[in-house]
Assembly symmetry: C2
Homo-oligomer: 331 residues x 2
């Protein structure tokens, strides 16, 4: 089957680009030093491919991702890198023999972990962004967790404010500032794990013991700006359904392409806007898209774009070679 025979919109995954990305990352972060983030790819088959490459410890953003990976036999070491107030579904997985660790950053989330039957936690430290306790509160929170019967494996410190900064030197400074706070917290907390980082800091962060990265696998136009050695593997194939007055409209809109990082791109064209099921673009000189022609759209943000689709169509050039269900969506 060829990709032009797929109903559109269709999410494509370039298998050669994916293999290149897996190998490139594994050379620096082999085995369980990498904790691939399932929030990016949301697929147990995809996770199985990473496990085959030696990455058998996974990072998750939702309870459903943890449950799905465990059910797929990938429950050796699952980290829910997020706070939860009801950990009972995670506790049930622990009861079934899976290793599940959850992030905590408050008395309430420590108590929820203990009450829910989770036995291992990371102290989530705020190093500049979003959740996490202050570095100075990490030690006392670890003490409370241990008093509640929990094993504290170490700290989590995600420098989310740094990973998409385009200028490499600025990015490096932001990473180092964040990791200084992570080291302060870790000195108080103890444990073997310092979990953090992302695609944008993969070769800048020497503090962490394990890298939480997902976007490097498939990439998007935001990460493309950073000049990393990872290739674009994710596209949405669309069909031109209308064309007039120099503009063309194809059948992939905001329900197929997440817009939180702005508009997606079409090679050789200026994208004007997206609506529910449409992308409108003005082709550059020399290209007059005909109605029925296929275009490949590059997402602006990979994670939420993947979450809009039911399956990946794996392609090598124009040939469709496999299909992977995206079975870790929702909550």
């Amino acid at each position: 089957m060829r990709s032009v025979d797929l109903p559109t919109p269709a999410l494509l995954l370039d298998i050669d680009a994916l293999e290149h990305n897996i190998a490139t990352m594994a050379a620096r972060w082999p085995g369980t030093s990498l904790r691939p983030h399932s929030k990016c790819f949301k697929s147990t088959v995809f996770a199985g491919r990473l496990a085959d490459a030696g990455h058998t410890a996974f990072c998750c953003a939702t309870i459903r991702e943890v449950e799905g990976l465990a059910a797929a036999g990938l429950g050796d070491d699952l980290l829910l890198a997020n706070e939860v107030l009801d950990a009972s579904r995670l506790g049930a997985l622990v009861e079934d023999g899976h290793r599940v660790t959850v992030a905590v950053d408050s008395d309430e989330t420590v108590d929820a972990a203990a009450r829910g039957g989770v036995r291992e936690v990371l102290i989530d430290v705020n190093v500049g962004f979003r959740c996490g306790c202050g570095p100075e509160d990490a030690g006392p929170l670890a003490d409370r967790a241990r008093a509640a019967g929990l094993s504290v494996r170490g700290v989590m410190a995600y420098e989310a404010h740094a990973v998409l900064v385009e200028d490499r030197a600025t990015r490096a400074d932001l990473v180092e500032g964040a990791m200084a706070r992570a080291r302060t917290a870790h000195a108080q907390v103890g444990g073997e794990v310092v979990s953090g980082g992302g695609t944008g800091s993969w070769d800048l962060n020497d503090t962490i013991t394990e890298l939480q990265a997902g976007s490097y696998l498939v990439m998007d136009t935001a990460y493309a700006e950073l000049g990393l050695p990872f290739r674009q593997a994710l596209f949405v194939e669309a069909t031109v359904i209308s064309s007039s007055a120099g503009a063309a409209v194809a059948d992939a809109g905001i329900k197929a392409l997440a817009q939180d990082h702005g508009l997606p791109t079409v090679s050789g064209a200026d994208v004007l806007y997206c609506s529910d099921e449409h992308i409108a673009f003005i082709p550059e000189d020399g290209w007059a898209p005909r109605v029925g022609e296929r275009v490949r759209v590059t997402p602006a943000h990979c994670d939420p774009t993947v979450a809009l689709h039911e399956r990946y169509h794996l392609v090598r050039g124009d040939e469709v070679v496999d299909e992977w269900p995206i079975d870790l969506r929702h909550w």
Copy 2:
């Protein structure tokens, strides 16, 4: 069950607000003069409620929406208000006795409709936005459609560029300009139908014979700016999972709340940003959200937010009274 007992994020539908919205619209556009747009609500149970209110003709944006409504016994008069190059799945529905009409705006889409076995079309006219042929091309295209054996029911003319304009007088002018072009096209095309309009032009558009509206049913912060008599019925319930330094983080992010119309809102707070599974906000004076507290987030854009969820939880105040599957997603 109460909404605080739902796992979060959870999509809530306020049943009283919904009933108010259905009744308000039906007073102006009763029965089949309204063609509710399933791209907004994406649920056959929801569509059944509209059919009970007399609205038995539906508008769709995807083939899957058409198929789902037909399978649910709601195939009296289904319009795919969009161009397609492969109409074979629509033709199969016609073969099974459902009435399916498709929009066409080019020789290619006319040919696709005829080839696929669809028998009825609307000539889609560009009145200022997106797809559609020029008004001057509508007559010749209708001739071509009739020559291909298709029945031309009339024209479709959606003034998408007008419906969200906040100033009412400007909005009225834009609607009138668009409808002047629609009338020109309709005079050439013939047929009984002029299909168009939306929630923002529901009381401004006197040209159309049927209104395509969906957002009025559930509303969002974008349409709220227009001062329409429809109530907010759609919310995402989230749990505060982290709180520090004056900011709080709840567990509903860009995978639960579409961002193409900007950030969602939290009553009594300034929303800072959303990430994959988080919404961060600064509460106004007098509110210090505790970890574990529930918040109701109002979406910025209803259609793509609904498409992120598997089900509506129908609520009356804090009580959960029903659950409706969102079964018309994807393509």
